[in-house]
Assembly symmetry: T
Homo-oligomer: 145 residues x 12
């Protein structure tokens, strides 16, 4: 089982950026935690600030990955192109959306997810630990489908 874990804009700043909202873990901490939790799953872990790069990566998953874990960050609420990309591969490469913070407690614009309807499910509010939950959820989905 091989998973592509994607991180969107500004997540490279994790650990230093508004830690009261996003937590003190860095992306590297999260990657390590994911790999330690379910070591039998191969995880390709990437970050980019570019919507285009995320779309390209997702479009290339068919046949190479079994599933996607994605934290689209701000693009969650604005990118129809990301939704289209996830939808385009959803029949073969299902995705799980994860957010560090509970977006329902933040600005109105963050209450609606454009990308979530193209995913199997969504997990939010558990900071870095949410990625590990997403990994378990995705593994479970893949096994039971």
């Amino acid at each position: 089982m091989k998973i592509l874990a994607l991180n969107g804009p500004n997540l490279n700043l994790l650990g230093t950026r508004e830690p009261e909202i996003y937590g003190y873990e860095t992306l590297a901490d999260i990657e390590a935690e994911m790999k330690a939790t379910l070591p039998e799953i191969e995880i390709e872990f990437r970050q980019t600030n570019s919507e285009a790069e995320l779309i390209t990566w997702i479009g290339e998953t068919r046949g190479l990955y079994d599933g996607i874990i994605i934290n689209p960050a701000a693009l969650t609420h604005t990118s129809l192109g990301l939704y289209d990309a996830l939808k385009a591969v959803a029949d073969e490469v299902p995705a799980v959306e994860v957010h560090l913070s509970n977006t329902h407690t933040r600005e109105e614009i963050r209450h609606k997810s454009i990308t979530a309807p193209a995913c199997v499910g969504q997990i939010m509010g558990f900071k870095g630990f949410g990625y590990t939950l997403a990994l378990r959820a995705l593994a479970h989905s893949l096994k039971s489908s």
Copy 2:
């Protein structure tokens, strides 16, 4: 560690009600799965169709439970009273919201959660397995706080 797991209106019908949306597991299956996953956690598992009963149960948790897992079902989108109840105990008894289906793929009215801002986080779309994820999330939150 003692957790109160609450289920809202119509969830007693689980397993027979629109299984293509909600899955074929019954509430009893889910309860068993939760208890098997983290047996060291004591779980009190309840269902009711009554908003009032949910509010009363939540209001009584202070000092008796360490956390709440709640699937408010339809009340997620309409009950300010449930939000108030969760908020009233949130400082001592944090809650995690769970949904069987991915509500973002359903009717507009189910895209907004009134109760989620009073919770630590939210997990949706993984059918019965989501409860187990919620249990792990809650346990992790309680340990790290």
Copy 3:
């Protein structure tokens, strides 16, 4: 053929409550009129102010009743839980929604029905006589399906 006739909040006051809107008939009058019209149909007639009780009753109809006639009163416009309950049994126990008044002539909030999309059809504006029409409509639907 066995029908469950359900009445929501405040309908116990019928006959005394704003009769220029709701008419002078009591619920007992309506029950009697229904039973006299199509005596070959067995009718269980109930009223409650509780959304939870309505949901519970509807959830128990499968296998016991052939159809539901429901006047959800104020819950028509606010209860997603009632919609879910009706939807959960709709494949076996179809429902007809009835209103005493023509809700389109009243406050804006009463122009939209949340429960109607889970029903076969809707009848409004004919005061107590509407229940008898609903009974005929339901009987006709059951026969032709």
Copy 4:
């Protein structure tokens, strides 16, 4: 007792047009069914695709008809002129609005009726049988007023 039964745009296609929504009966079937049900009532049955013709016909009812049964079809949701016409004769010639389908289960634009507030009541979702119900409803209204 003499009733004018009016049918709006596209209803001439009934029986062939999207029968899964509108049913397999033709307007002629419906007319026959109405006349057979309450043969003591004289029914004038008409269809037109023209809003203007409907308005004219309604404006001429005073003194000639005791009531109107109207299925305004698409005009239900767009025609203020039809509302004005029904309102203009409502004190002497009350109307009942009927719809073949349950419009609440269809597009958003069909959830609001502009014409209904000028009618005594509304019946929807029972296909052709709804006209017969409307006839009974109108006859009952006329007798009790």
Copy 5:
């Protein structure tokens, strides 16, 4: 100077239809009053319930009439086609919109005029006398342009 005076849906009922809103004058009274007030102006006075007929008549005014007085009745608030027609001839045949009632005191839907932006001006609330005012306004506009 030759003027085309147009009246929309349901105005043929004037004098009998809801006189507390529209007044007791008939269209014939209004026509007579207009002709008596400024007898030097030739007035062609028409009524129709048909939007199409109004559009056709307006489209034919170029070269035949100097101006239009129009009471579009309910079409004021719904007909973009009427707006287009008035706009199409506005450079040569200016129009004045007139309403019997003060539409601002009535239903929300009557607060917005779709046709008014294609007219020189608008007069409302003075019952039949408004037509005479519109005639003076139009005559003044034509003279000063």
Copy 6:
């Protein structure tokens, strides 16, 4: 018969301010034209930039004036206090609202009049000549009531 003619904010600039919208006439021209048209009516003609002063003047009309002609200018669209003032005296001192421009052809915010529902009627789009029409309209209303 004694009339109070009121002019709101910025109308003191008339003749110089955006003449393509408001015309080249000054307020003095309009006052003279009104007085020349119906010399038997006594007209008190005032302008102020102050909402408070307009409210005070209107509140003092009872017993002193037979009617009001008012061009509230920008306050038309924002002043609930002016509406309240006009409403407070409307049973004895009816008002007619007049606008120089056709507000329906301008910014969205000018399409809704807050003050018009407290007036007998409204005249717009005929530049300064509209005041004279308003005077005729008011005189006619007063005579026929």
Copy 7:
């Protein structure tokens, strides 16, 4: 004079629940304060988390109580059924709505009261002391009607 004082969902937690918003008084404190202020008035003081129970209690007041003081808590903003109940008895048993906090300073959803239009008046922002004011207001209303 006999008054029914009703308290809605979560108010049983008063004194411990977010005291910076709701104050440190308990319901028992408030009840005592009310009874001490106007001892000549008999007060029946109740709390429930159930909308249905509130509706039932209100529906039974006719002939037993002279007035109602109600703090519907979260139901203020969501319960049309409560509005209907208050409206159903309003001609004989007038109600006063009271809120501990100034809801205008809180979330958007709390700015609109669904129940207030069925009451004589509303008092908010004075914590527990507001109940005493409501009692005075109700007593005054009952005396002067």
Copy 8:
């Protein structure tokens, strides 16, 4: 203890203006009633139709008054400047908003108060008696803060 009682636009007409909404008491009656109720409090009682004057008076209260009772009338729903003024002195000179009528039963525009969030609380619907309640509320607030 010294209180400034402020009254906004059109309240000078009280007693004569739409008494079925506002009551038959004059402002002088209300002032007398307030002074008689709690004679130990010094009350400065003013009315103005001017938003600017209200803002100026409020801005000058610091150090001179202990609190403000204000009925902003129509400005309640439109004046952000009044909100700013009340907010500017709120830390030293708290205010209570009072309305004669229950604004929730009136036009939509009166359902929202712009000024209330800058006040301690709000009292509405008890006609002139509401001022006395506001006085008690303010005195109680000042004592307990």
Copy 9:
């Protein structure tokens, strides 16, 4: 292959009406251009100002025409009846919607097409040449289906 080309309200004025928006071609020019472009296709070309006539013509196409090209003009944005008509025959007689102007550059009300969802596709902004494009598009659709 036989095509019905339909033109809605005001298009009879083409060539003289606001040519900067609609172009200088007349309907006859467009008809000639269409026939010259694909002479092997039989084209019936009609215009009417009547929504009812358009609906009737569309309803009669089944079995007589292979496809429809329609410029509904203003009815594009207001006529649900036209949508219903196109939908009713869409399985056998597909339609292509054409507009002379680019409606996205015009008034807000012209940005939404009610009729387009019942068509195969839409072409706009190419003045009269758009009809020829629509013909090619329709011919291609018919061949490939």
Copy 10:
């Protein structure tokens, strides 16, 4: 070069009013700073709580001033009359709008400026220093036009 600097409601309180939002400078400090920065420009500096006075002052600028710097405070978001005044003189006396705070970080109602479209530009968020920037901006605009 002569500039009129205008300050709206509550700005007389500057320095004492919510200094964390508006800063500790007084209007006098700002006036002095402006005059010191570009001493070659003559500045008339005024404050008023009255919308009417601002309108009057702006209406009198033609021929007397070369430009306007205006902080309309709360009127920014509510006064169409102020917009009209600025627009009326904009061809000869251009204006620059200035705000002490960054209104985009405050309440929703402060996100929209009604007056800004009548100005050359807008400067916000730099507390008292913004006036000096506005002065430079206006001087630059006047020189380059």
Copy 11:
């Protein structure tokens, strides 16, 4: 004549991605079809997932290309930057917008085009064949301007 044909996000997946919506043709098929149809026109055909790259390419067209055919895919509905780019070159390098699907039959968010107002026209719903139509349309526009 030289044309730049641009394709936005996810269109590289064409032929495999949801073919029931987008068709079975690949971009290469479409490019070949375009070049075969009007071989005298030179076509530069590109695809990118990057909004920035599209903007850059458009900004460089002036002097190098005679026109643009663009399918902005998801960016149609979200990219103001793309609109700005098209607008910036529109006077010299006109664009035609093309969509494979009929976006009016899809999600609400796809009903509004942000980029279309910067184009000459729009063609949608004809799958790959739409590009050829767009080419003809653009060629015709260029010849007739």
Copy 12:
């Protein structure tokens, strides 16, 4: 003091693109003007059409720059990611938003800034000169903080 000056999509076209809106200056002119005005400040001046590149550049400012001047162009109104980036560094590297045009006089979509709430302040409408003002504003902010 070292400042990063950032320019978003399409600004590379400055000087040729719609100069009546954006002015005739090029970016190079603006850069030169900024450096000449406050030569003691080191300015790094960049432009990109890529949202991702802007986000990356902003994320790297901490420790390298003292402040940011940013003209996000179209991204102002659509990019939540840019807002997040500015917010992430705002405690150490404050930003000032600048616009060439007065966006309030343009399309509705340009009236709301998503990025402004993450900035100290905003300057708009002064074409290229606005950058120099922003520089002064930023320098002043940095000195006084």
